[in-house]
Symmetry: C2
Subunit: 308 residues, 2 copies
């Protein structure tokens, strides 16, 4: 096999009480990528579709940097071309850079006969992600690579836990077309938090992990609360509280900020509820004059997948 075509999925990180550690994988939105072996050694970005003006220099491109990290570690006897059909908008908060970073290393690994496991691949992808977000993290990489819900227990050493995904769990995402700078989203967070609130957060997070294990949708609903980060970051997203209020009315299990925003995610039991949530999001945001995209997706338990 000299060429592989991939679907590299969008993801949601910072899942409410699981801020900085819990993410999940989407199915209905993701990048398409082609990775091709070449005789000429090196990493070459040969095509970028989607119209987002991303750099072709491997050292300046997220997919290129993660590919180079793997390439320099494994020193294979060939080179690789990378084509990216970018369908996840950069800056949307649903793991656009993570999809690129995961895609290149996953594809190279397949073409090289799978010398690396998924955790090792994620280590390479972290290098690419760091180019985009200016810090090393795996919040979006882990669910894109492993699928389902992932808990990044620690970065050093990298340890990723796969948490079970209840059947029939759907996500709805609204992406308001505004810019939230990651630096601003970081700067707005307090350095210290009240111990009492931290206790509430880990009670909710432990409950959420238990609820995912037991497919207890009502407990998912009661656990999807973020008392630490949401009160700050929601200020950066126009109409956040209004959207949240309206979607909870139509049966959402909960909602939160996807990544560092501006996208807002919601979880629902069943496709119909997820579509009702999409309608409520649309109705609320249509009145604001801000353009937006909406995605409805089953939780993708496979993660990145081969298309050909």
């Amino acid at each position: 096999m000299n060429e592989i075509k991939l679907f590299s999925p969008a993801t949601v990180a910072n899942v409410a009480c699981g801020f900085d550690v819990l993410g999940f994988c989407l199915d209905s939105v993701g990048d398409e990528m082609v990775i091709r072996k070449t005789d000429k050694k090196g990493i070459f970005i040969t095509k970028i579709d989607g119209g987002f003006n991303l750099p072709f220099e491997a050292e300046l491109n997220v997919a290129g940097v993660s590919a180079l990290a793997m390439y320099n570690a494994l020193k294979p006897n060939c080179g690789f071309e990378i084509e990216i059909n970018k369908k996840i908008k950069p800056g949307s908060g649903i793991g656009s850079s993570a999809a690129s970073a995961v895609g290149s290393v996953f594809g190279m690994n397949e073409l090289l006969g799978k010398p690396c496991n998924k955790t090792q691949l994620t280590e390479f992808a972290i290098k690419g992600e760091a180019l985009a977000s200016k810090c090393e993290h795996a919040d979006n990489l882990a669910p894109a690579m492993f699928g389902g819900f992932t808990l990044v227990k620690s970065l050093s050493p990298l340890e990723i836990l796969q948490i079970p995904t209840p059947n029939d769990l759907y996500a709805t995402i609204i992406h308001p077309q505004i810019e939230v700078k990651t630096s601003e989203a970081r700067a707005i967070l307090p350095k210290d938090v009240a111990l009492s609130k931290a206790v509430t957060q880990w009670a909710n997070f432990g409950s959420l992990i238990h609820a995912l294990h037991t497919s207890d949708f009502e407990l998912i609903q009661r656990s999807l609360n973020d008392v630490i980060v949401e009160p700050y970051r929601s200020q950066l997203i126009p109409h956040y509280n209004e959207v949240k209020k309206e979607i909870l009315k139509v049966g959402a299990l909960g909602a939160g900020i996807s990544g560092s925003g501006p996208s807002i995610f919601s979880l629902s039991k069943g496709l119909e509820n997820a579509k009702n949530v999409a309608n409520a999001m649309k109705n609320t945001y249509s009145k604001t004059g801000i353009d937006f995209d909406i995605h409805v997706s089953k939780i993708n338990i496979q993660g990145i997948k081969i298309l050909n």
Copy 2:
């Protein structure tokens, strides 16, 4: 049935990263209690064995106060006598007051034909526990009532989750015979904690819940870390770090402060490891001149039980 004899177990609260929310139940140490229906209305503490000089007035006794809370709510057509054979030393940090509080209401409920569920009984027991600890909490009550590992998701409304207990999981406890005042253990805690440490704590706590669900002992070991409370409270327990270091050497999965101390708990896979931990605790503490008790116990998945 007019009389019931009970084993009301000792418990460990504040399980490392699960500070304030996670507890588990012991099997080898607990109080024995007899609850008896009487024609005379009221709650009467008629016998207290064990030599701890506890009050006989129902309003001043933890078992009495929880019994009165239930009695006043249900207004039964009889009264109750309570006998307590106290085997859990008060102030040891393994839920002595919780055992008394749970025992009286569990016994009354059995004699009345089980009008209440375990969560409702815990609500009554909270009133008794508050007499001893000066605040309402269910950290020790929940595991004594339900058995196994319990997560107190919230106090108001009271919501208790039963987390699976891996087979072959044992606890070892050392109770150094010193006094740690609950007020001091509380005062030593900071009001605020670094957000970065709080994230580490909930990553560990989510991992621990996942590990209990999957019976992953190695992950239990990697998750049993408390980066928030232990650094402060361990200062109140002489030789804490030394004990912890020695028991980790002989195969303990982890250790922490039981409740607010002074007891130190440890978890192990299998009875033999738990006994090795007991020996290491004994060797370390024998040199200190401080008296101590040691308990080795399988995790008690049943909780409080009827003896006759």
